[in-house]
Amino acid sequence: MHRVKVISGHLSSYPPQGGNRKCNINHCRARAAVSGPEDVVVVHGRRTAIGKAKRGLFKDTTPDELLSAVMKAVMTDMGLSPDRLGDVCVGNVLQPGAGAVMARIAHFLSEFPETVPVYTVNRQCSSGLQALFNIAGAIKSGSIDLGLACGVESMSLQEMGNPGDLSPRLVDFEKARACVVPMGITSENVAERFGISREKQDAFAVSSHQKADRAQRSGRFEAEIVPVVTKVTDAEGTECTVTVLKDEGVRPSTTLEGLGKLRAAFRPDGSTTAGNSSQVSDGAAALLLGRRSAVEALGLPVLGVLRASAVVGVPPDMMGIGPAYAIPAALEQAGLSVADIDVFEINEAFASQAVYCVEKLCLPLDRVNPNGGAIALGHPLGCTGARMTVTLLHELQRRGRRGYGVVSVCSLSDPRVCPLGVRCGLCLLSV
């Protein structure tokens, strides 16, 4: 920058009378606040309510219906014809083949044309975020102008637990063995290794419920939740039609005392309980992304701008600590610091790892998951990354002024980080 060089040249001389120089020229690594036509921007995002798996109102709803509801809603809200989409990427974990066929069915249930392609991605819990990165990457590389990034999971209809066909030799490799460690044990490992007490975990869980409850009651989720009409069969076998509008997992009556009574779920002497872990859930979310020039040419609004992204691998038996590494990496890339970020959405797979990440990075608690997290809201695996992004963008927009946000999800050996920001309704999404 020529003018910067000229001015800094003026500051380099020492005065003839000598004296100490307090002047330092620090180069700000942040990319210019001015936007460019090549920016990858998020136009809009919506999600379904998150249902309690096996017991909630979505327990009999196939994932393609959930996915279709959000895909249609996003396009209808923007008045955009689906034939404008260059690609659709859907995050999913538990469906056979990560839901490749399911997604195509959802596509046609939404009456999208056959000319628009769709595929699925599985990066475990961060699949929804990975879908975002994939679509962003396709936009950046110029192969598409606009795309839909989605995530969906029905944990009512599919179980975790079948890792697939694995080589018996995995037992010979320490890290490979660690990959099949149950999630709950990874949480215990983190709690033990980093000294995160049961009390701290429970307090964090209470806070998640309280924040989610406040958000619900004040109507903060209204703009983002798509009402879904579906059928559910009750205990007697009667089928009825319901409209699902509310996240089911929130328990405002949760107390420290109440949580303290729960037994450890994964290890007899452990600290991870059902109360301070994320819930098993059903839900879907979708985000419309595009290159800024294409978005503006269509007269569409910009909700956020992607600024940076990072993915970091960590020991598989402690996968929950991923965000503590990935967040700094993404911030570095964006030229920002923790202090610049207004909202952090960190997935609460377990209170142990969420607390570890918050403490390790010294994140101000009032900026972390301000509307609650997976402990209160639930964690529909493939959906979560996209869901958190939708919630973050709506929150930043609600605040009405420029800001940055970060979305971070840990997953088995592969955390994802996604810093975001908002500027008068513009979202900066770092992925």
């Binding site: 920058m1 003018r3 910067v4 000229v6 001015i7 040249g9 003026h10 500051l11 380099s12 001389s13 020492y14 005065p15 003839p16 009378q17 004296g19 120089r21 002047c23 210019a32 001015v34």
Partner: protein
Amino acid sequence: MGVKVFRSPARHGYAVEGSPFIPTRLACAASQYYGIAGSGTLLVLEETESGIALVKSCEWSDGLFDVAWSETNENVLAAGGGDGSLQLWDSSSNHSAPLRVAREHTQEVYSVHWSQTRGENLLVSGSWDQTAKVWDPTLSKSLTTLKGHEGVIYSTVWSPHIPGCFASASGDGTLRVWDIKSAACRLAIPAHKSEILSCDWCKYDEHMVVTGAVDCSVCVWDLRNPRQPVCQPLVGHSYAIRRVKFSPFSRTVLASCSYDFSVRFWDYSSSQPLLETVEHHSEFVCGIDFSLHTPNQVLDCSWDETVKIYTPACLTAGTHTAGP
């Protein structure tokens, strides 16, 4: 009498000049993002009983780095832009567009000055493209282009006494004096070993010129004897001098403003030349001017988004004796 302040949020002042016609009027060339990027605004301001009011603000698509009031029309001003353009503005019109735009310089125009010499009605501009240009008051086409500087030009100022003569200060470390009739450089003084950011003529003695430089010193020169300055360099500022101005009311009094956030007043004929240091800004002070109508009144502007009008104590002290 306190300090009157005008705040221009998100606009950082680069130059300020009092109107030669209307005693309460002044103009400030200001830029967005400290002039590094973004747009510029020409602020036409009016001093009131209690403060400073906005008369008109003119937007330009690049930063504005200098302003000059017309010497013949009380509503007209010229401004120099970061895009190499010079614009002519009418402060009395409702139009948002300038009267005229001249795009000849190929780099930032850092200086623009309207001649005050009787009979003459010309503008001079100085640019980072290392040339100075002379213009008629309609800015239709430059009359002459003066080359010779080997560095960016920061300042071009007409002599108040000698027709067709102006001085320039440059990043090449020289103070040059030009004659436009012969389109030639009459004198090139290697005045500083660093970049010279500003120069000005004494209003009482046609041979005296002051320079302010990146080496943090202010030097006064007698053009008849240019080998050395007339006195010891005036030192005190701790960072580069952005602008220097001779007082219109005193032969030997001048002002300097600096990157060190301060404004200093000097009497170079005194054994203790520093009269006063005014530290009322929180950022680089880039613009300074003496009022022609109200003796001892000073106008300045800074990157801290303010323009200030005040009367320094040292100037009202009567006989300009050295201050504390």
